[in-house]
């Protein structure tokens, strides 16, 4: 299944937030969306999964979601959004309940997804016992448990410290090379975009417009930041965003 954004615009009252956005998330493809703060990245992501409605334009699902997908468009949130009163097992079973699966099936799915994300030892832990990195791993496991067609990731690594971020990024790359999931990955971190994106959509400052869509042809598993090509890519993206970021920084919030 592909996800296509078609001439999407959005207003908050008279204020234009997003203007004429067009792009497609292909199957097994990670599209990173970067832009300065306040450019409407998160709003865009909420619209992609149907949590908010655009003022005009539309978002289309192209093709059928994979067989057995319980929730084709599935989010991974910046602040994990785990229920603190449920164990890791309970947090994942939350999203499997109500789909008519029997208990054995739910348990099997949870065991499988924890195996895939290497969390099997933490089944009975509750969120307050887990580090930030582990919480986000659980949130990713929860997202994978419903067999999504497209993962919608809202700055999933931004709440983590830089070492944990590095570890989790390697995990994500490993996961993608095994499972080839499709994702829209919102971030303000250029390094993450360059390392995870097959396409990088660069948004301008308010109203968010597409400034450029950069295609990166190097396979994910071969991307190495010591490669001058990668460094140049990141530098190019930064040059594109620098002015905007500077302006965004100096702007008074309304």
């Amino acid at each position: 299944m592909q996800l296509r954004v078609q001439s999407l615009s959005h207003y908050y009252g008279p204020l234009e937030i997003l203007s004429d956005i067009n792009f497609t998330i292909g199957e097994g493809e990670i599209v990173c969306v970067i832009g300065p703060s306040g450019c409407g990245k998160s709003t865009l992501l909420r619209m992609l999964g149907g949590l908010e409605q655009p003022t005009s334009g539309q978002i289309l699902e192209v093709g059928r979601p994979p067989e057995g997908s319980l929730n084709p468009l599935t989010y991974v949130f910046q602040d994990f959004a785990l229920l603190p009163w449920r164990t890791v097992h309970g947090n994942i079973s939350l999203v499997l309940e109500g789909h008519g699966l029997d208990k054995a099936d739910i348990d099997a799915r949870i065991a499988d997804v924890l195996e895939r994300t290497r969390l099997s030892d933490f089944v009975n832990a509750i969120p307050k016992q887990l580090s930030g990195g582990m919480k986000q791993r659980v949130a990713i496991a929860r997202a994978l448990a419903v067999d999504p067609a497209v993962l919608l990731m809202d700055e999933p690594l931004s709440a983590l410290d830089s070492q944990t971020r590095e570890l989790l990024m390697a995990d994500l790359i490993g996961l993608w090379t095994r499972e080839r999931f499709a994702a829209c990955y919102i971030t303000h971190n250029l390094n993450e975009a360059v390392r995870l994106g097959h396409h990088v959509v660069v948004l301008s400052r308010r109203p968010g417009k597409i400034r450029e869509i950069v295609q990166i042809d190097i396979p994910l598993e071969d991307r190495d930041m010591s490669d001058p090509k990668m460094a140049k890519l990141q530098q190019d993206l930064w040059n594109m965003m620098r002015e905007e970021a500077l302006d965004a920084d100096r702007e008074l919030t309304t």
Partner: protein
Amino acid sequence: MSATDFDSTTSSAGQADTETRPVPFRGGGFKPIDIRFVGLGVFVVLIAFWEWGSRSGFISSLVLPAPSEAFEAFMDLARSGDLGRHLAASLRRLVIGFVCGTTLGLIVGMLIGLNSIARAGLAPLVSAIFPIPKIALLPLFIIWFGIGEGSKVATILFGSFFPTVIATYSGIDGVDRTLIRMGQSFGLGRMAIIRKIVFPATLPAILSGMRISASISIILLVAAEMIGAEYGIGAYVLLAGNLMSTDQLIAGVAMLSILGLIVNFLISRAEKYLLSWRS
């Protein structure tokens, strides 16, 4: 150049002032430390002093009876068999009133928290009635529900209803929106979100509301029992007051204090058990 500069300044400083001292500690304090048995000690000392004062005549027994006399009055009450009757009557009123008030409060609070029409209609009404001391309504309740059990239970019910409503809906307002959005994003139905996300997240607020409504209930229990009750701790205290038997009065008041402590303890246990997930 800069390196030698750095060296020379340290060495000259070393020569000029060789005095060394540890950095004085300025932190600490302002954080309560758990000290056990001090509270108990204060109790024991106070009661011992009181007992000594009464026996030595320093405290007139007319003004304040000795703790031993109050205890003796309590034992008399227990021996006569009236203790059970008083306690049973009070507890029945308290439990029925509190349970009904809290349950109704939860339902109405949930309604206000989850439904905008209910909020617009009921929230101002609740805010208007909440500050009225329910004791002031007692005469009205007696006319409506009779001088017997009805008016007493109704007073406690009303007293515990409003704090629960307010605690519940402000608890719902405070539920982390990202958790609700998470539920929606995974396609959970409205009932599932209420049952599995909103309600557990509101539980801390509900329990702290319960703490308040429980102590209000005890106050109202005594007040209600002071009008037209044959049995009940409030009636016992009132009768003791009328007869000037201060030893019985103290015994009754002590029972109320213990009742309050027990209720508080039970709620603390419930919090510990139900909210162990809180960090």
